[in-house]
Amino acid sequence: MRRKFANIYRLGVKELWSLWRDPTMLFLIIFMFTFAVYSAATASPESLHRASIAIVDEDSSPLSQRIASAFYPPQFVKPVMIAPAQIDPGMDAGVYTFVLHIPSGFQRDVLAGRSAEIQLNTDATRMTQAFSGSGYIQQIVLSEVEEFRTRYRGESSLPVRLELRARFNPTLDKSWFGALSQIINHIAMLSIILTGAALIREREHGTIEHLLVMPVTPFEIMLSKVWSMGLVVLLAAFISLQLVVRGALGVPVAGSQLLFFASAALVLFATTSLGIFMATIARNMPQFGMLSVLVLLPLQMLSGGTTPRESMPEFVQNVMLVAPTTHFVQLGQAILFRGAGIDVVWPQMLAVTAIGTVFFVIALRRFRKTIASMA
């Protein structure tokens, strides 16, 4: 038993040395946990940013001019004033996402207390901007009209207010979400790539053959890769969370970091096993690369880290319950964003442990079976 541990420890240390002398992988780790996290947090493509808007002003009144001047960067680009005939070509070519059409006599109607209507054309193929943007434009137009009107005559306010408060991220700052999601994603991604590549490298260099003639078992070889690569990813994620997320980006972390990294360790057990499994299927680095693309993209996009799970088809939601990342995203968001404790996230931790065990056993069996053909 002591020999087993000694072997696992020795081989793991060897993995660390190998990684240390592999500049490509080191670069990848550092890049992923610094630059990639930072840029993903600061660039928030989903927000309403410089939306292109055009205005057809057939009223040419102080009110219509007042409305037109209410749109400015950063949410909108400076509105382009166009003629009615330009609406369709401009929207067809995708130049304008929004076109606001103010009819003639609008100001007159408003002041006379008659019903008045402004038409807003929204290019609904621009999903990211269409929804929030059109709501925003409506609000702007209505409040401009309201202000304009109150200047002429007093108006009673609405009696029932709605007090909306965003919890866990009061200002809806997107960099919070971006940064923490990236960390969660990269933990899964890098652990798969590192372990898989470590095994492929042994295979390509022929060193696996050497290991197998020594008194070490496949179990020891596999476990040594699991612990060493898991440790590296854990450490890199920890440093990134402290320096990049909390330091450079100034994002507050709500919950217990200890709990988060303990859960991450459980997840790593599953993802590193997955990496080993994939490396036994692929014959060389290029094949492993292709396989990674096909496995990592679904894991990232469908586990709920990029878009909410509940908007996916139910079938996809159920299938993705098998993926360790789905549970990891849930518990990671709960701990980091909402400050949840172990009393809240234990079901996910249990699920991750179970998945990890199953993955490890499957990967070990497959590893034992194929290891002979690797040598």
């Binding site: 072997n7 020795r10 190998s18 989903e46 927000s47 410089r50 292109s52 680009v77 067809d92 070519a93 995708g94 130049v95 304008y96 996402t97 109607d109 207390g113 008045a116 038409q119 807003l120 054309n121 290019d123 609904a124 193929t125 999903m127 269409a130 137009v141 209505l142 108006e155 009673s156 609405l158 009696p159 029932v160 207010r161 709605l162 007090e163 909306l164 408060r165 965003a166 991220n169 979400f177 022929g206 053959e209 020594m214 008194p215 078992t217 680095m285 290029p286 690369g289 993209l297 679904p298 996009m301 469908l302 878009t307 908007s311 849930q330 968001q333 964003f337 909402r338 996230v345 002979a372």
Partner: protein
């Protein structure tokens, strides 16, 4: 130095130098080679033979000095183009420039087409060549499944298909069995008889082969040691064989310590058996790698396995170490049945594999220590043991170096030291000396002799060198998975009545294979004198050459299931993932209400939300703790609190506030929730006022929102037209990039360097099949969009297909571009992926329109083709447009494609640098 002064020179080298980074491969070579001769370049691996040949063949660019070939400077590209059809070059490595998945016939057809022969001419030449080499009956067999000797014959046929005047053969017989080797040289001799004007330059590591050449060049360490006829060289060194002569020619510091190998007589107990194998067999599918092999090795003896590459030596050794489970038969180590789980026996065996396989990332010392620890040498003994090994195997000066920086001979000693670190009783050494120079080889053998005779270690060694096999106490000759005979080497020679071990081996081989593997037909003088049609004049762009690349790429693609699966399966998977994954819809939001009022008004308020398709209601919230907990674990995305006396206050028109908490963790979703709930509240208010009769004093102002092109504002119709171009860009680019770089990795790119094919023919020939493949991908995605995602195109389908075709030209072109600047498949793939994904997602208008970008990003967005493709795709899927409306987006696509291919062509090297 010339044999006869009148002969013209075919190759003249003056002060030729070549460096790879810091390493100097050639250090000033001056050499004149006469035409019409057979010239042998001898020397071990890594002395610069291959570099020299690559320079002469024009495959590698000349760095320093002048290389004149066939009467002109090879550095001059016009001259190179002119003489390239007269040169044939067969690079080192078994079948390195062949295509393993293509059959013999297809390989030959490919090369013949590159040289522009007509169909009948090709047929005649292929039949001629294969008949005379004995390959005729194997025309339909894939090149990858030929034996080593046959691969080399095929390589030779491919080289001879265009009647070269200069034939350059780089180690054509390395790793080939002696019979095939002898046949190969006979074949060369016959061809020379038919074409006496042809000059042949051959490199070889087998010194004994060099005896038959007209003139020899001995090389070491990037310099010429000596030149002359074999007889001259023997005489000058006073040796009786070339191997000894070569050792004699080496500079003084290398020779130092060189003594002949003397192995003391063997003294073993006949009944003390270290290894025994009985009917050991190994099958991989249909292929029998090892066929009922039996032998016994006594303790303390040196036992040799002699055979060519792929004869089953390594597989047998792997079965003995427990690396491979035997399909049949049994083996015993020290009387115990070989069992992979038996850790104790493993500790008694040391193994050295064929290729250097230690950790190149660990230093020499770390390698030794790691292996000592894994073999559980007691911790306090390890430092002493490591020192002992270092001293014994002469590793002390390099203990802290990384192995990859060491010369081959030292790495070999390191491998042996590692195998010996736990003091095993048995050493299994798989071709430990291949590629090492004769002096280092002798040094290695002296170590083995000492281990065997002094330490009584049993040594089981495989080799393809005859003189090494002769040193063994006993040996087995292996061929095609079978042991032909085992005995003391001298007895084997005696048994066959041969003069040398090589002759004896050939005798055994002929017996085993029934005369010879395939009888080569003697070419009659008539056939030989067939006047071949002259080569067509070199054209700047030849459709035939391009089509021959297309044809070959299609064949290869068909036979590579992995790439095919990625191409089609990858598209389907990623389309599904992105279609379902990139959804910005918000529905089924879980919410719950903390109703402290419980009045009819508060119920009506809730009714409004529960009726919405976007929300699903959960059980009511009981108190703040409950609210807090359920929001924390993510159960609730929205919690609404209705204050006490809400209904009464509303009726009285008093100021009241409803509290709504929503989960801000996902800001994107949160914004949408915010929008919904505000809208709902407004709606309720309006209703409420109407019901209460508090009609508004002012006329209502409304903004009528027309969601165009996608009236329900759902994700799928918005995403599908975007995902299709994205995948159409990424996957074909990756596949195309792999296609070119794969050739660089396997070495068949050499055919671009040394055949008349031009860069544009090569690239276009590679690209066309991938454009076709990409269009199939497009068709698959198009059908998925209609039938699976229910997003049918509303505009002109023909316009979409045209745009897709133009776009595929661009995406495959980008793959070519990525492949032109990378050297490894993984780098090419990474570059192709990043180079397409990042600009497309960030600048291509995938999420935000290009018109909302600013500065440099705006410029990239306008130039990068994916933005225009998005416009077309959206226009046709969502906006019911046709050619005329989208003309502005078509033009850029039309221009970009040829532009990218042009750049890729310029960046691709026609010579290795």
């Amino acid at each position: 130095m010339a044999l006869s002064a009148e002969r013209p020179m075919v190759v003249r080298l003056a002060q030729v130098r070549l460096r790879y980074g810091k390493a100097e491969a050639l250090r000033g070579i001056d050499l004149d080679i006469e035409a019409g001769r057979m010239i042998g370049v001898i020397g071990p691996d890594g002395v610069g033979k291959s570099s020299l040949f690559a320079l002469i063949a024009g495959a590698r660019a000349v760095q320093e000095g002048t290389v004149e070939v066939l009467g002109g400077n090879i550095a001059d590209s016009d001259h190179r183009d002119a003489v390239c059809p007269r040169i044939a070059y067969m690079p080192q490595g078994l079948g390195k420039n062949l295509y393993p998945t293509l059959s013999v016939e297809e390989n030959l057809q490919f090369f013949a087409r590159l040289f522009g022969h007509s169909a009948e001419e090709r047929r005649r030449r292929i039949d001629d060549l294969t008949r005379s080499t004995g390959l005729y009956s194997f025309l339909s067999r894939p090149a990858g499944k030929l034996s080593g000797g046959m691969k080399q014959k095929l390589g030779l046929c491919c080289a001879l298909i265009h009647d070269p005047d200069l034939l350059i053969l780089d180690e054509p017989t390395t790793g080939v069995d002696p019979l095939a080797r002898a046949q190969f040289w006979d074949l060369i001799a016959r061809i020379r008889k038919q074409r006496p004007g042809m000059s042949v330059i051959v490199a070889t590591a087998y010194m004994d082969e060099a005896q038959r050449f007209d003139w020899l060049v001995a090389m070491d360490d990037g310099a010429v040691l000596a030149t002359g006829t074999p007889a001259e060289i023997l005489e000058r060194t006073g040796s009786d064989n070339l191997e000894a002569a070569f050792a004699e020619l080496l500079p003084e510091e290398k020779k130092r310590g060189h003594k002949p190998v003397i192995i003391p007589p063997l003294d073993v107990d006949e009944n003390d058996i270290a290894i025994e194998a009985q009917n050991l067999s190994m099958r991989f599918g249909d292929f029998v790698a090892v066929d009922h092999v039996s032998f016994r090795i006594r303790r303390g003896e040196i036992f040799g396995f002699l055979g060519s590459n792929g004869c089953g030596k390594s597989t047998t050794m792997k079965m003995l170490t427990g690396l491979l489970p035997a399909s049949d038969g049994q083996a015993w180590l020290f009387g115990n049945v070989v069992d992979p789980r038996d850790m104790a026996t493993r500790g008694r065996v040391g193994y050295m594999s064929q290729a250097f396989s230690l950790y190149s990332e660990l230093s020499v010392r770390q390698n030794l220590e790691l292996h000592a620890r894994l073999f559980h040498v007691a911790a306090d003994e390890i430092p002493g043991r490591v020192e002992e090994m270092a001293a014994r195997f002469g590793l002390e000066p390099v203990m802290d170096d990384l192995p990859e920086r060491l010369p081959l001979g030292i790495r070999q000693r390191l491998s042996l030291a590692v195998a010996m670190v736990h003091k095993p009783e048995l050493l299994i050494l798989d071709e430990p000396t291949s590629g090492v120079d004769p002096v280092a080889r002798d040094a290695f053998w002296r170590l083995l002799a000492e281990l065997s005779r002094r330490d009584k270690v049993t040594i089981f060694i495989s080799t393809h060198f005859m003189n090494e096999a002769e040193r063994c106490d006993r040996m087995s000759m292996m061929h095609a998975g079978k042991v032909l005979d085992s005995d003391v080497p001298a007895k084997l020679v005696e048994k066959r009545g041969a003069k040398t071990l090589e002759e004896a081996f050939i005798g055994y081989l002929i017996e085993a294979t029934g005369e010879s593997e395939v009888e080569a037909e003697e070419v009659t003088p008539d056939q030989a004198r067939v006047v071949h049609e002259p080569l067509p004049v070199k054209q700047s762009f030849s459709l035939q050459r391009m089509l021959s690349y297309v044809w070959r790429e299609v064949l290869e693609l068909q036979r590579d299931p992995v790439r095919g699966t990625l191409a089609l399966g990858g598209t389907v998977i990623l389309m599904l993932v992105m279609g379902f994954g990139i959804t910005l819809d918000v529905n089924d939001l879980r919410y719950a209400v903390l109703d402290r009022d419980q009045s009819s008004v508060s119920e009506r308020y809730q009714l409004d939300i529960s009726g919405s398709p976007y929300f699903t209601q959960r059980r009511p919230i009981t108190d703040y703790d409950d609210l807090d907990r359920r929001m924390k674990n993510g159960e609730l995305a929205l919690a609404i609190e209705i204050p006490p006396n809400f209904g009464r206050d509303v009726q009285r028109g008093q100021d009241v506030a409803i509290g709504a908490w929503f989960d801000g963790a996902m800001p994107q979703r949160a914004e949408t929730v915010q929008g919904y709930i505000q809208g709902m509240h407004q709606h309720w208010l309006a209703d409420q006022m109407r019901m209460a009769g508090i009609s508004g004093t002012a006329g209502s102002v409304s903004v009528e929102n027309r969601f165009r092109y996608n009236p329900n504002v759902t994700s799928l119709p918005a995403m599908v037209p975007v995902v299709i171009p994205l995948l159409l860009l990424m996957l074909p680019a990756m596949l195309t990039a792999l296609a070119v770089v794969r050739e660089k990795e396997t070495g068949s790119i050499i055919n671009l360097y040394v055949t008349p094919v031009t860069r544009s023919e090569f690239l276009l020939g590679k690209q066309l099949p991938y454009i076709a493949l990409a269009m199939i991908n497009f068709a698959v995605m198009f059908l998925m969009a209609i039938f699976l995602f229910n997003v049918p195109p509303t505009g002109n389908v023909m316009a979409l297909v045209t745009a897709a075709l133009l776009f595929c030209v661009i995406s495959t072109g980008m793959g070519l571009l990525a492949s032109a600047v990378t050297q490894s498949q993984i780098a090419a793939m990474f570059l192709a992926m990043m180079g397409t994904l990042i600009p497309t997602i960030t600048y291509g208008g995938m999420l935000d329109p290009v018109s909302s970008l600013e500065g440099g990003a705006r410029i990239i967005g306008e130039i990068y083709p994916s933005g225009h493709m998005f416009t077309i795709s959206r226009g046709i899927f969502n906006k019911a447009l046709g050619f005329a409306d989208l003309l502005g987006a078509f033009w850029p696509l039309l221009i970009t494609g040829p532009l990218i291919i042009g750049v890729a062509t310029m960046l691709l090297a026609k010579q290795e640098r």
